[in-house]
C-alpha cells in the first residue's frame, strides 16, 4: 500500500455470546479469550466473514449434549448471518482460537470448547485453515472479516488462580494468514 494513506480501521469488539459479520475491509473484529472459543469464518469469494465468541456451559460433564447444543446454536447464528449477507456455505473457511486452561485444579473447560469446535467444523464440512487452541495463555484476537486475515497474541502465559507473576513481555504476534 505504498503511497496510500492507511485506511482508518474500525474496531468491533465481540464479547461472549455475541457475533459480528462484515464485508467492510476497514472493519477489524477483536476479542479477548480465555477458556472461550472464537470461530472466525470467511468466504473468500464473497469477501465477507464473521467472528463469534462463546463458552460451552461446564457442568462437570453431566450434560455433554446440553453443552454441544449451546455451541451448535452459537455456530448456527454466525453461519446464518453470513449466509444472509451472501456467503456460500460451501466456501466457508474457519480459523479458531481460544480454549485455554485458565485455572489450575478445575475441570478443563477450555479443552471441552476446543474439542467441540474441531468436531463441529469436521462434521459440518467447514475446512479449518488455522487454529490456536489450548495452552494456558489468554489470547487477544484480531480478525479482518473482509479479507479473512487473523492475528493472535498471547496476553499472559501463566494460569490464573495463583499470585500474579511479574509482568511478562508480550509473547509476540503470530500472523495467521
Amino acid at each position: 500500500m505504498t503511497g496510500r494513506a492507511v485506511e482508518a480501521s474500525r474496531k468491533v469488539h465481540v464479547t461472549q455470546g455475541e457475533h459480528h459479520v462484515s464485508d467492510d475491509p476497514a472493519v477489524v473484529a477483536t476479542t479477548v479469550l480465555g477458556s472461550c472459543v472464537a470461530a472466525c469464518l470467511h468466504d473468500p469469494v464473497a469477501g465477507l466473514g464473521g467472528m463469534n465468541h462463546f463458552l460451552l456451559p461446564d457442568d462437570g460433564g453431566r450434560d455433554d449434549a446440553g453443552a454441544i447444543r449451546y455451541g451448535a446454536y452459537a455456530m448456527e447464528v454466525l453461519i446464518n448471518s453470513l449466509l444472509k449477507k451472501g456467503a456460500s456455505r460451501q466456501r466457508l473457511q474457519a480459523k479458531v482460537f481460544g480454549g485455554a486452561r485458565m485455572f489450575d485444579g478445575l475441570s478443563d473447560v477450555g479443552a471441552t470448547n476446543a474439542v467441540f469446535i474441531r468436531r463441529f467444523l469436521d462434521d459440518e464440512g467447514i475446512p479449518l485453515v488455522s487454529e490456536s487452541l489450548g495452552g494456558q495463555a489468554a489470547r487477544r484476537v484480531e480478525f479482518w472479516p473482509a479479507s479473512g486475515r487473523a492475528r493472535v497474541r498471547a496476553t499472559t502465559t501463566a494460569p490464573a488462580g495463583r499470585p500474579a507473576p511479574p509482568a511478562l513481555e508480550p509473547a509476540g504476534d503470530v500472523e495467521l494468514f
Binding site: 447444543r69 449451546y70 446454536y73 448456527e76 446464518n80 456455505r89
Partner: protein, 129 residues
C-alpha cells in the same frame, strides 16, 4: 396418550450437528421412526413421498426456509394436517408470529433441552408414553 415410537418424525435442519442432537433427543424420548432432511426442498420431496406425523424444522435454511416449507405443507392436501414444530433463534419473535398465521403447531427456541423438546411435542400430541 400416543406412544413416541408410533410418531413418524422428520427432522429438517441444514446443520448436521443440529440434526444429530435433535435425533438423539428424540431417541431419548422413545422415538424410533426418525428421518432427516437437509433443507426445506429436501423435506418437501421426502414428505410428499413418505408422509410423517411430525415435522421438526429449522427456520434458516438454504433453498427453502422453514416458513416456506410450512406454507407449502399447509397448502398441499395430503400434508395439510401434519404437526409442525418450528425451531427458532431467540431473536425471531416476528417469525413465530408469522409461523402462527400459517398454522404452526408449536415452536422451540434454540438451544433447547430434551425436557423442553418433550414438553413442546406433548403440547401438540398429548402426554407421550
Amino acid at each position: 396418550m400416543p406412544a413416541a415410537s408410533a410418531i413418524k418424525t422428520l427432522v429438517v435442519d441444514d446443520q448436521l450437528t443440529m440434526r444429530a442432537l435433535i435425533r438423539s433427543g428424540l431417541q431419548q424420548l422413545g422415538f424410533t421412526q426418525i428421518e432427516e432432511a437437509v433443507d426445506g426442498e429436501d423435506a418437501l420431496r421426502r414428505l410428499i413421498q413418505n408422509p410423517v406425523h411430525l415435522v421438526l424444522s429449522d427456520f434458516n435454511m438454504p433453498k427453502l426456509d422453514g416458513l416456506s416449507l410450512l406454507r407449502a405443507l399447509r397448502s398441499h392436501g395430503p400434508t395439510r394436517q401434519v404437526a409442525f414444530i418450528m425451531l427458532t433463534g431467540r431473536a425471531d419473535n416476528d417469525l413465530v408470529q408469522r409461523a402462527a398465521q400459517f398454522g404452526v403447531n408449536n415452536y422451540l427456541v434454540k438451544p433447547f433441552t430434551v425436557t423442553t423438546l418433550k414438553g413442546k411435542i406433548e403440547q401438540v400430541f398429548g402426554a407421550l408414553t
